[in-house]
Symmetry: C2
Subunit: 433 residues, 2 copies
């Protein structure tokens, strides 16, 4: 297909949805991707680029001539154009902006001035606003006659001459009202809106909580400057959930399309942190090297104590991190949740102390070793439960994302407590210190 | 407030959004919750219950008299009613259904017959459908005159006399068209629809991919039976993401409102599995107990090798599980991704072999120990990378959710390989076998 037959390509891709077109681009070899877009020329729908991973998109856009990108972008809704522009280098960004019509350029520049991940970046600056003294009929006629409207809209905004938001009207209300009705009679007072600087995570929570379809975005002067629609929010929800999963797994913002070097760089810091905690845990073992030398069975059993603690703590932490992210865990139920975790960890501690105590006693034909194993497990699972809930909560209070940092601290606690309690108890019980 | 003053309560909660009302219920003590709803009586909005966690909701509904619930449910949209009904015991379900008007009862019964997590459960059975030969004017008049319409709607469906779906019209298209226009002229041929038995995860992917607001649900005979709207899908997306996070953390379907007993029961299986893998890893250590007895430094260092492997494998696994869930990892890019992971693991292996080799050599003033440590790390990180990508992919192929089972297998691999390579190499190198 890449025999530079652009007519054939155009006719083949004409009817495709942008998401499918995006998939085709992903499936192509890196070299063919920009050729593909250049061959399609005017018939390429730039919204397809919005569907791609960040790293892939910026690589493709950078390999395309800036004028071509400018032309493609000028046909997009402002929120999609921002997605394409925001990851580019300053120089390319400026060149593309310069090639755009003045009014688009100003709008996009203003949007790019808002912080990353803010409502201002997410919003679309084209929306439909009418005056409160219009009638339903006038509004419908206006919609019929104006051709340059946003592609899809779910709400009409009612504003005063100073661009301040007075209310909103959903399309079904508009359709169900008689033509002579005044807009001001059917408008909803809008209680849900966001400010341009608000974080996208807060925006998505508002949408989810109140089942919104779209919401007004206001600037500092409470003027209506844009609208955020649910399709953008669905992407945010996915992004935020993916972020939590990835942070818990210690892989930062990695995408499956990243290069080997980028992947190594993004995973390295986490492995270094893990190295540090592993060395700390090892120092606890080194402290008891005399004890181990006299009883090698301890070296065989100690990883079990640490690993059970690590797993129990991860379970508690997972629930806690998730509940903090969805704001299901707050000061009202904190006490209840913490005491539940403590009870669970005591119960699990006793249950597994019995099981593992028996295993240890039978394995090494040493009932005393069973007692020590059981006691160490009760201690470690108790600390596991406690740290599993208190560390994420504490990090959140300190303003750190619990998803990113909890597991490091927790593994350190359960390893150190696990090795210390088991080897310490054994040394004391058998008099091997 | 719980002084049984229902008038005061009614006036206080009157203007609250259902999500806020749901929060109030959660904050109340378990005993007060059903009293609160009974006191509110007719003025209680049952959609607030839909906002609660599953386990909390079913507990509350079970404590309420069935007639009261039936009355409350009869005012809800069918999809919300299903959410409340589906978790109840059969007996209560039947009693509540019996108290409903016949037409509602039939609709709800049919929806409950669809499998859990299917499109049929998610859909709303009230929708607006018109005939293709109607005009825009007729449709608008119909909307104005009919009072018993669904609360919110985003699309109008066009059907033939056999209830087969011909197309859809978005509200903005309807608003922008002249009154005499025939519906058949402006309808979109609907290319996106779901079947009643489709899984909700597939439904949410369709919505996300094509930025849908609502979609038609068809039965086996291709008749239009319902509509799924984006607000339900947003909940599904959240649920699915939460499910993945929880499964990776080994906590099943646990909610923060679960009781101690329920929590212990749901975490226990995972801890037992972990116990089994920990015992397997210990057996590897036991195999080398003679080696350790002659050189205790090995017992100190061996957890570092295992832990680095575990972390590196978790990183790879996290990316793989996430990419499989979002279908970003498929047969087209499998080879590329697997070779990337192998390269990354070789690179990380060499880098950390050098760092840890130096640490080990300096710590125990034994340069030979540094060589062994480094070599073991290269081996373990290589297997970590390989298992981190191949195990999730293999599980997915075998029809098992990779999120739920990957980490068990992976920890087993990295522990066994880590201990075996380090202790085995050391035993051979120093002649301690």
């Amino acid at each position: 297909i890449e025999a530079r037959n652009s007519d054939l390509l155009v006719s083949l891709t004409q009817d495709l949805h942008e998401a499918d077109l995006g998939d085709i681009i992903e499936a192509l070899s890196p070299k063919d991707r920009s050729d593909f877009i250049e061959l399609l020329g005017d018939s390429f729908d730039y919204t397809a680029l919005v569907e791609l991973d960040d790293s892939l998109r910026s690589k493709i856009v950078e390999s395309l001539p800036n004028e071509l990108v400018a032309e493609g972008i000028s046909e997009l809704d402002s929120d999609d154009a921002i997605v394409i522009l925001e990851d580019l280098e300053e120089e390319d960004q400026a060149e593309i902006l310069a090639a755009l019509p003045a009014i688009d350029r100003l709008q996009l520049k203003r949007s790019l001035d808002y912080p990353e991940d803010s409502a201002g970046r997410l919003m679309q600056t084209d929306f439909i606003a009418v005056a409160p003294f219009w009638t339903v009929g006038q509004t419908i006629d206006y919609l019929r006659e104006t051709t340059d409207l946003p592609d899809d809209f779910y709400q009409i905004f009612v504003i005063d001459p100073g661009h301040r938001l007075l209310g909103t009207i959903s399309l079904d209300t508009l359709l169900r009202s008689r033509r002579p009705t005044r807009i001001s009679e059917i408008q909803n007072e809008e209680r849900h809106f966001v400010m341009v600087n608000q974080d996208q995570e807060e925006v998505s929570r508002l949408f989810e909580r109140y089942d919104l379809l779209s919401t007004a975005v206001l600037d500092e002067g409470e003027r209506l400057v844009g609208v955020i629609t649910i399709d953008d929010v669905v992407d945010v929800i996915h992004e935020e959930a993916a972020e939590d999963i990835k942070r818990l797994g210690g892989v930062g913002d990695e995408e499956i399309t990243d290069t080997v070097v980028a992947t190594v760089m993004s995973r390295m810091p986490w492995l270094i942190v893990n190295l540090a905690t592993a060395v700390i845990a090892s120092q606890v073992i080194a402290f008891f090297d005399g004890t181990i030398a006299q009883m090698v069975a301890l070296a065989v059993l100690m990883p079990i104590v640490a690993s059970m603690g690590g797993n129990a703590a991860t379970q508690t932490m997972t629930v806690a991190v998730r509940a903090l992210a969805t704001q299901d865990l707050d000061k009202f139920n904190m006490l209840r949740v913490v005491s539940r975790e403590i009870l669970v960890s005591i119960f699990n501690g006793i249950a597994f102390a019995i099981i593992l105590g028996i295993i240890a006693a039978v394995w090494f034909s040493n009932i005393q070793l069973g007692y020590v194993m059981g006691a160490a497990l009760v201690v470690n699972l108790f600390f596991a439960g406690l740290s599993g809930i208190l560390i994420p909560v504490g990090l959140q209070k300190a303003g750190v994302d619990p998803a990113i940092a909890s597991s490091v601290f927790i593994t350190t606690v359960t390893d150190v407590v696990g090795f210390f309690s088991f080897l310490g108890l054994a040394g004391w019980w058998f008099g091997l210190m």
